[in-house]
Amino acid sequence: MFRYILRRIAYAIPIALSVSVVCFLLVHIAPGDPIDSIIPPDTPREVVEQVRKDYGLDKPLPVQYAVWLSRVVQGDLGRSIATRRLVAGDLILAARKTFVLAITAALLGFAVGILLGSTAAFYKGTWIDKACVAFAVAGVSIPHYWLGMVMVIFFSVLMNVFPAMGAGPGDWVWDREHLQYLVLPAITLACIPAGLLTRTVRGIVSEILSQDFVTTLRGKGLRNRTLALHIVKNGAPTILAVMGLQLGYLMGGSILVETIFSWPGTGSMLNAAIFRRDIPVIQGATLVLAMFFVMLNLIVDIMQTMIDPRIVRK
């Protein structure tokens, strides 16, 4: 088991490095001289040349990558062109807010998805099943930036029960005042994982229910409670993997919802950076979010191996 974990971590390292290469290259796929992408246009000539030297931009690409990577490892993601502030500092603050939003939306979406998905599987073929499936398709088909707008129209403009924008004053705290800011964006963001989980859980549970061993279990006269336990343990590894992926997608994909609700997270930061063509911020945010995703995948994989006896541990 321990050796498997080590091997899995070893496998994640080249992936993480490749991800950093892609992020590094973002500066270079931007049109024009890369130097223009990392410093403001009105910088004096001497400073430009100094930066070019510091970043090794006069050297071949692999060397540049090495210089860049050594900076990144030390926590230096460069400076924003627009604000001239360090990217890393702003990013940490923003990532915290995004995490609050993503984890809330994820838990909400998972709860709804698991509930509806397993209900649909148990009542397969009935109208209950059809309703759940319809919800699932709607959940994955709805443009959530539009849903966000509709929510704002209903709950902020027409009914005035929840605030339409922001994350409340100051730092995030889990209190009533801040939570009301979370309601609308979290529900909006939750609709994708809810739809997707409904679909996945329905598929997995109905697949399990169709297997022979369920007949055996029923043949043993087990109570429904015990039967449910068997289904949960059989389905958990796959569902866990899907949930892990979804949480990662929410962290990295909250840009549109954050834009709609002006939620001050990484998404809003990215949006502002795109608008100003602030490449260091785009690069830094992408790198941090992708690394989070790599880590998350690693953790989910290890957990999956730990709870599923069918996976042979070598």
Binding site: T216, L217, G219, K220, G221, N234, R310
Partner: protein
């Protein structure tokens, strides 16, 4: 009298209803099973033998299955029983083993757990004691190094051991009736015989009634007291194992015997039954075997032949069989 019977089925019908079609899987089956008796139901796939077996435990898919007629198992009326009543019966009075032990066992629970949970369900006993009983059961079904196997997952065992574990689960509450759905079909030939011998020994030691479903005449001859031959959802012949094997009455049973390899046939040409089993979505009047029968007459196609009994304990659904006076 009838209280002593383990199973009493009268005009049992099982239909699977879906939007597209209704499949008549079992069409008016009558039989009885006494205590300690071993009945073999013989038939090809799709003849309704597994469905009959599952009907006894109420295990056919819920919602789509319609069961009609009388079916009494261990004193419990099964046709009108609630799911809660059935779950009292299942596992305790009646237990079942399946063809493919790999898929019939839950892959993510240990063998010990799967045995113990059945015991805990039906008897007021702690999980720890149930696990000790599970160990005894594994030894009873002759699983080597049983203690270690308690902790094993199904995929860690060989096919033969898995089937033994399956039997151990079935026997965990000492049922009065064991239902076996082709338990040897998926196994290697040598393992088949071992499992068969084990089942026979356990049946005698524990005094269980057994209904054994198979398409293999050799297996049936090995274990059965009585044989029932099933075709298109009906019992076409029933009788003591020796009599049926030696001199089958129904043309279909005769065909089945002709299509099987056994020592007595050395040097003779094997015969096959021409044609295919009927479509169970639309049952034609008359004898279902008529389209494939060499001895068919007009009367066969007109009406379903009655069960005729040429001697006590034997019966067949064929107009060529003469009723005993």
């Amino acid at each position: 009298m009838s209280e002593d019977l383990l199973v009493r089925a009268k005009n049992l019908n099982v239909k699977f209803v879906s939007r597209d079609a209704t499949v008549h899987a079992v069409n008016g089956v009558d039989f009885q099973l006494a205590q300690r008796e071993v009945l073999c139901i013989l038939g090809e796939s799709g003849s309704g033998k597994s469905v009959t077996l599952r009907a006894i435990m109420g295990l056919n898919p819920r919602g789509k299955t319609v069961v009609e007629g009388e079916l009494n198992v261990c004193g419990q009326d099964v046709v009108g029983a609630s799911e809660a009543q059935m779950s009292q019966l299942r596992g305790r009075q009646v237990a079942m083993i399946f063809q493919e032990p790999m898929t019939a066992l839950d892959p993510v629970f240990t063998i010990g757990r799967q045995i113990a949970e059945t015991i805990v369900r039906h008897e007021s006993i702690s999980y720890k004691d149930a696990l000790a009983r599970a160990l005894d059961l594994l030894e009873l079904v002759q699983i080597p190094s049983a203690k270690r196997r308690l902790e094993a997952y199904p995929h860690e065992l060989s096919g033969g051991l898995r089937q033994r574990a399956m039997i151990a689960i079935a026997l965990s509450c000492k049922p009065k009736l064991l239902l076996a759905d082709e338990p040897t079909t998926a196994l290697d030939a040598t393992v088949q015989i071992q499992i068969l011998l084990l089942l026979r020994r356990l049946q005698q030691e524990l005094g269980m009634g057994v209904i054994f479903v198979t398409h293999d005449l050799g297996v049936a001859g090995e274990i059965a007291d009585r044989i029932a031959v099933m075709y298109a959802g009906r019992f076409v012949e029933e009788g003591p194992v020796r009599d049926v094997m030696r001199a089958p009455l129904h043309p279909y049973a005769q065909g089945l015997l002709g299509a099987t390899v056994h020592a007595g046939l050395r040097g003779k040409r094997l015969t096959t039954i021409p044609g295919a089993p009927p479509d169970l979505r639309a049952i034609a009047p008359g004898c279902s075997f008529a389209p494939r029968c060499a001895m068919v007459e007009a009367a066969c196609r007109a009406d379903l032949p009655n069960l005729r009994s040429p001697e006590p304990g034997r019966s067949a659904r064929c107009i060529h069989v003469n009723e005993a006076a």
